[in-house]
Amino acid sequence: MRDDLTVRDVSIIGIGQVPVGEHWDRSLRHLAYEAILAAVRDGGIDRIDALYIGNMLSGELNSQEHLGALVADFAGLRGVEAVKVEAACGSGAAALRMGYIAVAGELADVVVVCGVEKMTDTIGDDTTSALAMAADADYEASQGLSFVAINALLMRRYLHEYGFSHSDFAHFTVNAHRNAANNPYAMFRHPVTVEAFRQARMIADPINLLDSSPICDGAAAVVLAPTAWVRGRGRRNVRIAASAIATDSVSLHDRRDPLWLDAVALSAQKAYKQAGVGPQEIDLFELHDAFTIMSALSLEASGFAPRGGGVRLAMEGDIFIGGRIPISTMGGLKARGHPVGATGIYQVVEVVAQLRGEAGANQVGDAHWGMAQNIGGSGATVITTILEGGE
């Protein structure tokens, strides 16, 4: 994608979300509708030009594809342009990228992007198999590797190469749960201790239950519109300063250096260039903490820590609210929850709330630049979005 073109500025003028959890009483389409309705009300809009749905697993887990038309119709938008976008766990932010392209490229003015996932209609091992579709079916999943196992291979190697112990990762989880306690949309609103982290049930060693984000349902939505339309509306404007997708091999074994997430580095560098800022200017970072190891690797490849130094930011408290680079400020994937295709939109909704100064007890002081990073698979699709809060 060319970076040298001048496109019109795009703002996020509405945000909406439903609480992440096990919504046995609500269907996929109903969850999506609730999030869209909340975002449309928040944005105060009366027209929509296009709807983009981010979702990974509706075909496998809900026997339902064709979500663009399905959700548009159910939300009372019959007739509108609507399609689903899929990039594994990065589906939400990938859909946002498509919405951004539409508005920035002047093909649409008002676009709604909704991430939705319904993961609790199936039983555990079917959901585990479905999630493994983010990996290589012929050479990873067929060997019995779950998605957790792929992350465990990364974590084991990380501990070996850099000489850390598993409990050094505890503060990623402690931070996420502490922040989720103040987020009414979070799934786990209870604190977790370092001792509980050490004792948690093993899933694929060294990854245990408290390294891992939960299986859950959720939906979140944003409304995009040209920045020129929204200046002077009274509320703090939040502009999309950068939007960048990069890719890497889907399979871990096809990477020359598995501990360096190339697509994270590529998408972050592109995003910094677009926004005209560097990691030192970023006030908060909603990263893709599906597993604690991914937090460390993302912090490193995004330029917040040197190689092998990501986990130190957790050990030394730099990632806490009030620290050098607060992460997972509303609970992150670990404690807000990780309804996979919805996650990328939850992250952006949370960054918008921070930049508007609406994050309540978890408000990051003087937040001006916020970054969100959504990762598909073990780093194969990475979408970095930088938002700027304005007057």
């Binding site: 585990t128 779950s146 196992a149 899933i203 990854i207 074994h253």
Partner: protein, 133 residues
């Protein structure tokens, strides 16, 4: 039950057939149509020795559908002696004994079972190597 999808992979699953790049000589597994080192077309088959060492490993206690009967089982990234990494299960080994750098070799085993009427998949797994050759 995906018969053709599995049948297509028989040379890789049973004999570790990859490719060697005619331009730069890189050994490639799994096979692909473009050499990852030099981006030239890669088409010449190459049979890997099956020898390598453990690059990383994990033991699974929660398994995907089709693999529960094997729990707990150990999977690894194996660094093949020709260069590439491969993801595979380890077999005939005590999980406590596995370590990074452990020499391993390819063997063939049952990979997964799709219930009473589905496919039984066979393919490579790796076991501890007892001698260096």
């Amino acid at each position: 039950m995906r018969i053709a999808q599995n049948w297509r992979l028989k040379a890789q699953r049973y004999s570790l057939v990859g490719e060697v790049c005619g331009e730069c000589g890189a050994k490639i597994f799994p096979p692909r149509d473009v050499c990852p080192e030099c981006a030239k077309p890669a088409r010449e088959p190459y049979v890997f020795s099956g020898r390598g060492e453990v690059y990383s490993y994990t033991t699974l206690y929660d398994a995907p559908a089709g693999f529960q009967q094997f729990v707990p089982y150990t999977v690894a990234l194996v660094k093949l002696e020709e260069g590439p990494l491969i993801a595979a299960q380890l077999t005939d080994v005590d999980p406590e004994e596995v370590h990074i750098g452990m020499p391993v070799e390819m063997t063939a085993r049952r990979l997964s079972v799709e219930g009473d009427e589905g496919l039984i998949q066979y393919g490579y797994k790796f076991r501890k190597r007892f001698w260096h050759s």
